[in-house]
Amino acid sequence: MNEELTATQRVEKREQYKKWINWSVGFGVVSFFIATAAWILTDEPMVLFAGLGLYWLGCLGMGIGYWYSPVSVRDELEQRMEREASQTTLTFIAVVVIIGIPAEVVLNTTGVYTAPAAVRGAIWGYLLLIFVFGAAHWVAKRQYA
């Protein structure tokens, strides 16, 4: 479908779907906050569930926007910036895992120090993220093989 659009139409479509995605996310988040405020005032759990439902509806709208957009929602410079930010994030995660996991295991096993559960969860969760990256990288690599 991309080939059928002119450059101007691509920009228009990108803006149109971006607007839809932003609106969906805004709707979901604002609904959740309003529902939370209403729950605090009323103490009625159904209000909170309704807020959660609207939040998920907003997330669904965001997903639909990304899925059905005939052009990439981000232009090439935005994609480049996102890639750089992702690389920086991955480097941070890798450093935390490489340094943190052996330290956590040694300190915990010897009983010298037991890190709080949240910190341990984060470190091991980061390791899981690295496995997810590895799988995603493998899938991407297959496209170029």
């Binding site: 450059a7 101007t8 691509r10 920009v11 232009d75 410079l77 935005e78 480049r80």
Partner: protein
Amino acid sequence: MSQGELATAVGVSRQTINAIERDRYDPSLELAFKLATYFECQIEDLFEPDIEPVEK
């Protein structure tokens, strides 16, 4: 011509054109071709290659 008009003509954001003009971003080959087509010139007329010599 404004950056916005050029951006719309080649299908990218104004920020992308601005970054190219300020030499902070090298465009993709596709965008370089579009810009060259738009200005009716060669890519080399718009961008100076900053590459090491290639040995044959």
